[in-house]
Symmetry: C5
Subunit: 302 residues, 5 copies
């Protein structure tokens, strides 16, 4: 029994044992087992950006088996992917690492006028494939916000009924938000708060920049410390029910290892619960990708 884990789990009291059990499983897997921290490998970029943009830098990644193997060997807490990638490996890897089935996805070929991912799988698929959680993306700021919030409302309820927690990707985007605003501190904190209010068990947002998007919010931020990333992370964690919900941060586009690791140190320092790192891991060579994931875990273990 890990104190670090049980302190987190205590904030989910009231959840049913099935959901609690899967949260414990995520927190008790891999190198970071028992620390209360998570490093997750997500591979939905083939769907989101296309296969060549995702896998040409390291063509081994065209094969769905590559990624689940990488996640296991590096010691990740979980592996997250869309339906097809999970279906291609589940029979062989179920039980060896928790799967997070990403149940909605966007491609970059076209779509509705306002950002909204398509439902591509569901809770029954998650059960059938032995997944430990479902994942879903909302775009706060989108004109199709209502469809997405109502969609996740229904999915969280269905997942709960079968004992599965929900991981919510909360990415502000849409008509009323500037490009810089998508990672603005106020907007990211707001997006994390919304995800918590919607009932997400784990929230994933982008690391916030030192920028305030909404005029009405500027006054409120006058006294919020925000010059370092660690401080901004802290504000996002605070906005997530004062740290009572697990918030993890994504890594974004591939970049140099030093830069990646420095960002992770700030996330850890600010009280972030971990990182979800895709392209920075699988677009490197197998050895380098694995090493970067392990370095990340070392940072979160502290």
């Amino acid at each position: 029994m890990s104190n670090a884990v049980e302190q987190i789990i205590a904030h989910y009291a009231g959840e049913n044992p099935g959901v609690i059990g899967k949260l414990r499983r995520l927190l008790h897997t891999g190198t970071l087992a028992g620390t209360g921290k998570l490093v997750i490998l997500p591979v939905d970029q083939g769907f989101e950006h296309g296969p060549a943009r995702s896998f040409a830098p390291n063509p081994a990644g065209y094969d769905p088996e590559y990624h689940v193997n990488l996640a296991i060997e590096a010691g990740c807490n979980a592996y997250a992917a869309p339906l097809g990638f999970i279906e291609a490996v589940a029979h062989k890897y179920a039980g060896r690492i928790p799967f997070i089935l990403k149940v909605n996805n966007s491609d970059s070929l076209g779509g509705p006028d306002q950002p909204c991912s398509a439902l591509t799988s569901g809770v029954r698929d998650a059960l059938r494939l032995g997944a430990s959680a479902i994942g879903y993306t909302i775009y706060p700021g989108s004109g199709l916000r209502n469809e997405q919030y109502q969609g996740i409302r229904d999915l969280i309820a269905q997942a709960r009924e079968v004992g599965l927690p929900t991981v919510l990707w909360s990415y502000p985007r849409g008509a009323g938000i500037s490009k810089n605003g998508e990672t603005a501190l106020d907007v990211v904190a707001y997006a994390a708060h919304i995800a918590c209010q919607l009932g997400a068990h784990i929230v994933k947002v982008k690391p916030p920049t030192d920028f305030i998007e909404q005029k009405e919010a500027q006054k409120s931020y006058l006294e919020v410390p925000k010059s370092t990333l660690a401080e901004r992370i802290q504000h996002v964690v605070q906005s997530s029910f004062n740290g009572k919900r697990i918030v993890i941060f994504s890594g974004g586009a591939a970049k140099g290892s030093d830069e990646v690791l420095e960002e992770l140190r700030q996330i850890a320092k600010g009280g972030g619960f971990g990182s979800i790192m895709g392209r920075n891991a699988f677009q490197r060579s197998p050895r380098d990708g694995k090493k970067l994931l392990q370095d990340a875990m070392a940072i979160f273990r502290g």
Copy 2:
């Protein structure tokens, strides 16, 4: 047995015992128990306006536990909040104060062209969390009016089946209403009447101003007394089935205590059934917020 309460309850004859029982519970809780009056603490501003704009003035409010505690300690009749805030505290506080689960919400990052909140929880959540009522916002005047009226129609029916009453936030807003018109006397009275016709058990509107929005209505208001807030409140109560439905009034943005209390006196004088006061309570220090709520109750107790 309270005469004041039973006189109100008598107007809901025909409702099933489950719903009646929960209404009695709301009216028999806290400092105002048995008076037929209500002061409710609502905390959905994190969702509606963002966490920093809501909680930076009193950072204790980032923690969901702060608010339910404040409501209990101040002696409120109920605590209203979205799914996440209720989920975070229900296991510990269920049974100690009635919860009103706010089942739809808007954020201020984006959304549909015409005002319409997203469904974020439901009747089954209310049951699961031990709530005593559901809350829902309609925006009369919106081009998406039909979706909202039909939505609440279905929710009221579902809630009734499991013995839960419904609190309706009726906030006029949308294409055909001017900014001033949103709190115009004719519009607020109309919004309250619509909520009653839709079957709401408790209606929440904003205090009306001395302004008539609709040209077609101006003649009808020639002889309606409306120069004081108390008179306008009286007209809204009259428009709510001649006082046979519970109508409470929201407080709006934070302001000076004197101003708040004077408004409450007018509401009480006009026959309003109570107040639902959020930012004016939780954006003050714990001591000041609690005091203001208690002063409000003192006014309604008379």
Copy 3:
């Protein structure tokens, strides 16, 4: 057993006994019982036009109990109202007068671009409240026609299953119809015919004017007598399956008693089955309103 009633009922042969029974009940209630004629009191104007515009002329009308009492005392065949107004009185008045639950409603604050009422109650509510029929408004001519026709199709089927007949308010309105066209003879006759084809048991239209809206229809009206209201009523009755469906006529905005009564005489002379009269009744003083309803009944009794 009334011959006048049974001659009407014979045209509904094939309907199930539940529906037939409720139709008999409507035709065997009040002053006009057994005559085959109907005078109904509808009070949905609070919802449709706002409370002050509806009830300020006679403030007793703010109270839902006022109207059902007026209908009973005047000897009406039925009382029609939206959910809230029926809920407020059903426990006390169910069984004393047939209720028609108006299951959809519009307000005049805003709404969709093309006319379409919101669903505000349903067949289960009608059962729960002891209603004898449901009422529904369609707007032929609206761009949202399909939603409305399909909606009433489903509701008629549901209502029939539990033995309830349907009253259809058929009010032409929308993009392709001029303001004058809304009461044009061709359009009103067409609207009545559509309502009959949709399966309505009782059709409510406005008294038609001596105007032909549709160019394509003008030739067809060359030999249709239409200079008196009685003749136009006769054409509408003919267009309603040659008089085999009950068609009643609404009174419109309040006006002088002589004018109202002259209109009713023409309706009666033209073979109309009765009148549905709201504002002209409840916006008068209790005594005058009751008297006007009784005068109307005297006309239809002949």
Copy 4:
């Protein structure tokens, strides 16, 4: 046992006995019983064009009983009409002539921007009223094509389950088709083919003109004989699974008897399975209407 009928029925092998039985019933009713040909009386013009435009020329037609009588007396294979008209006569005429319940309808007062009929009845109504088939209109070429194709897909499946065949009115219309194109040979043949692919048992189209609408199709028609109506009918029959589906042709607006009969001769010569003739029948005097229908049958009997 009729060889002509059984040869047609053989092309529906695989259908369930219920559907086959109703098809046999349609082909074994009236004057043309056993010939494999059909003349059907449809009366939905009151709904589609309005009552006066439909029935003023022969006011007996305002009465729903007139038409079913005409169909029986003239010896038609079936009588097709919307819900209301069938409900008004079903109790008296069920079993005396097959009814085709037209389950969707348009009026000419208004509607969606792209052509799409409203659902006005359904398969359960067809069963309840003793109908032998359902009828449905699609508008190939409409921007709302998908809603219509998906709608009829579901209805055909429901109807089949209870042993009812489906008659599909396939009328090209909409944004991309010129007025002349609506009856162009390529477009009518295409519309008939689509109806067959959608699973219709009987297809109804308009007689095609000697015009090719689609540029891409012109080359394909260089060698298709098309100068006479009979040749064009033959091409439509060929396009309907090489004559393996029953295709009948509508008569359109009222015109002179000689013109009507010449058109029917061409339809018969081209291998058409029959005619569905409304206004040309019921807008004539009872005697003339009946005679024209009988003359039509004489042509198809050959």
Copy 5:
């Protein structure tokens, strides 16, 4: 037991025995049985382009029986067609060749603003008609992408439940894609990848050209060999889970036999799993069409 087939089937481990069994059946039918390669005859062009454009070059094709016969005699693995064409032959040919029921279709007369096929049949039809798989078209790049992805998500789940695999036609098309881009290498590879991620068992795309559509993707293609069709096919196969999903290629509009066969050689050389060839087969004379299909099979047998 065929090694070639079992190596393919191994990549579908985790699927239920029903689906696996049908995949084996497709791979063990016809001339290519046991080779792991497929040649399929699809005939939905009557629906998609109209009957004359499809069948005038070889009028025998107006008859639905022609095509299923051609598929059987030529030794195809399967025959794919819309509902009507399958219904017309299923009773006679079920069990003689696997049917793929194409459950959605577009016509070229009109439709929604963004490409989206209409649902025209379903899984229950597939069962009723003895089909071995369902087929569905998605248009990546369409503004209605979400509807289509969610639609196929549901259909795949339904089909799986009754042991039927799904063939996905993935044809990029829509607002953001240029005409040339529809067959661009990056876009076709992306479309194939999306289809795999959506859970398709067999993916059908068009042979890609040597063109890169998306600016963001150009860098990724600098080192991808792509000058020959075989190389491009290889990239598409790689993008389809590194060859772990069956990808077949369509032939497009009719052209000279030499050209067709050269294209097939390249597809085979690049590792494509086969071809789905319609117009090139059925628009030739029966003898030539059969010969071309057999020549195609000879190429894939190698």
